[in-house]
């Protein structure tokens, strides 16, 4: 049988991807340019016995997500910059309490209410440092409608596997553009469910590291009782300020992601092997970059594209390797140099990094990238 196809928006694809992954709970507060996710979830979740809640604000939505996830369901929220800022307090809570959830954030002009309908890529740092304290960060940055679907599925998998919030951030262009999508059939994409406890309720501890860095998570309402707090905690979930426990627990929470980078990170290399100039790009800007690389190759410039599919964790080691044999990197992005700074930080000065930064609500076009390539000596 032919596969089901449709002509969908990135946001609609994200909602469909969430449903494929088994999401049965959505809480959010509508905001341009992410509202279509809430629209689809509000229509679809009731049909499958799920719950859709429009909360009083973004902070409340994030709190609802944590509560829902602790009952054992897969939970999603969607928002955009101003909402992401508001959610940060509870994102930190989800990090320290180790509650799986997915935050889908469409990047629009900022800071503050900025430019509601204009595209941007300026929330990538907020995904890592928006909430205070040391904590793990996973950020996926899709570049097409199909990829938005598939990466939303993967976001749920990573959240469940590592018991941590995962963010998916398309820019407004990817979120609002429409492309043909081929729906994967059931079983075609991996769907990961969280590990349930193997011990009886009376022996259960929610942060029992004897099971590894990612302790099994029981569902509230299933007979297991445990304490959840935003304070640094012991294995039984109750607060502690004991130095060696706090140190070990903080390190473990960050290690969950750092030690498993290879499993989480994803990128695509296009004509990088023999490239003199490598463009490091993500989201819709990576599509301009691919166009530019093809144009440059026609004109004898050996250009390649390193397309980030995960922004956090960042593929530092691979870029360091590449930096040893290229003349320059180019980082086009719709912000004032966020990826630019990270690339510079990991290549040990091996090559210059030329930035193209736009925050005027217009996309970076291929011509701008080709022009920048011509500056490389």
């Amino acid at each position: 049988m032919a596969k089901k196809v449709a002509f969908l928006q990135g946001n609609e694809a994200a909602a469909q991807g969430a449903l494929y992954a088994g999401c049965t709970f959505f809480a959010g507060y509508p905001i341009t340019p992410s509202t279509e996710v809430a629209e689809v979830m509000s229509a679809e979740l009731p049909k499958i016995g799920g719950k859709f809640i429009q909360m009083e604000d973004e902070i409340g939505a994030m709190a609802a997500l944590i509560g829902a996830s602790l009952t054992g369901v897969k939970a999603l929220t969607s928002t955009s910059g101003p909402g992401l800022s508001l959610k940060q307090e509870n994102i930190g809570y989800a990090c320290i309490a180790e509650v799986p959830c997915v935050i889908y954030n469409v990047m629009r002009g900022g800071p503050s209410t900025g430019m509601p309908t204009g595209p941007s890529q300026s929330d990538v740092m907020c995904a890592k440092w928006g909430t205070h304290g040391d904590h793990p960060a996973i950020l996926l940055v899709p570049a097409s409608v199909q990829e938005t679907y598939e990466e939303t599925v993967r976001a749920f998998n990573l959240a469940e596997k590592y018991r941590t919030p995962v963010m998916v951030m398309p820019d407004e262009i990817v979120a609002h553009m429409r492309e043909r999508i081929v729906f994967p059939e059931k079983g075609e994409l991996e769907v990961v469910d969280r590990t349930a406890p193997s011990v009886p309720p009376e022996q259960y501890k929610p942060y029992d590291t004897s099971f590894g860095d990612v302790p099994p998570l029981a569902a509230f309402g299933s007979g297991y009782k445990f304490h959840v707090t935003g304070l640094n905690k012991m294995q039984d979930g109750f607060p502690t300020t004991k130095a060696e426990i706090v140190q070990a627990e903080e390190e473990r929470q960050v290690r969950k992601v750092e030690a498993n980078k290879a499993d989480i990170m994803k990128w695509e290399e296009y004509l990088v092997d023999d490239a003199d100039i490598v463009v490091v790009a993500y989201g819709s800007t990576s599509r301009s970059a691919r166009f530019a690389v093809n144009e440059a190759r026609k004109n004898g410039i050996k250009a390649g594209l390193f397309r980030l599919q995960t922004f956090w964790p960042f593929p530092e080691d691979r870029l360091l390797q590449i930096s040893k044999k290229v003349k320059a990197f180019i980082t086009p992005e719709m912000n004032l140099g966020m990826c630019h700074g990270v690339v510079k930080g990991c290549i040990e000065g091996n090559a210059p990094v030329l930035g193209i930064f736009r925050v005027d609500g217009e996309p970076i076009n291929p011509g701008q990238i080709v022009d920048k390539m011509k500056e490389v000596k």
Binding site: F7, T117, M177, E179, S284, P366
Partner: protein
């Protein structure tokens, strides 16, 4: 840039231009078996302001989703014509509403002009279908998608009660554009 055909629908927010672009792209991508990307740019206003919807159609994969050199441009308002005609290619199709766009951009374009909104209002019967009249006209002028596919795409996007109205609007636009082209 070869292999890409780029169409821009522009006008004021609320005129249904995003939908016109979606239907054009859907006709290409779902019914004609080509590749297509539709994107849009609009202001914060729910109504008014300049708004555009772009469709890129190609036989191969489409990297850059926005227009680079526009092959065909629709302008339903003077503001959108002034704002969005700068990258229309030499010899490209410029479809304008003759009642609303009085100043044409300088350049060598294939200009086709007829009262699009007035046609919707007085000949089809509802101003709201002006976008479908314009879509029919664009299909006739560009040949970027087949007429059959475009019609199927229109009918798959509109509520059942309005099928006939939209069919009429689409065909009226198609015929008027061909007549105006002569």
């Amino acid at each position: 840039m070869s292999g890409r055909y780029e169409i821009r629908f522009s006008g004021a927010g609320g005129q249904g231009l995003i939908l016109a672009g979606v239907i054009m792209a859907e006709a290409a991508s779902i019914f004609d078996g080509k590749q297509a990307v539709q994107s849009q740019s609009y202001g914060p206003e729910a109504r008014g302001g300049a708004s555009k919807s772009e469709v890129v159609i190609s036989d191969g994969p489409i990297d850059y989703p926005k227009a680079t050199v526009v092959d065909a441009l629709l302008a339903l308002t003077q503001e959108s014509c002034d704002k969005y005609s700068h990258d229309l290619k030499e010899g490209g199709v410029l479809l304008i509403d003759s009642d609303l766009v009085k100043r044409q951009p300088a350049g060598n374009f294939q200009v086709v002009s007829f009262p699009i909104i007035n046609t919707a209002k007085n000949e089809v019967g509802r101003e709201i279908v002006a976008n479908i009249v314009a879509l029919g006209a664009m299909v006739a002028l560009t040949g970027a998608v087949s007429k059959e596919s475009a019609e199927k795409a229109v009918l798959s996007r509109v509520p059942e009660a309005f099928l006939e109205l939209n069919k009429k609007a689409f065909n009226m636009g198609y015929e008027k554009a061909l007549a105006a082209k002569k």
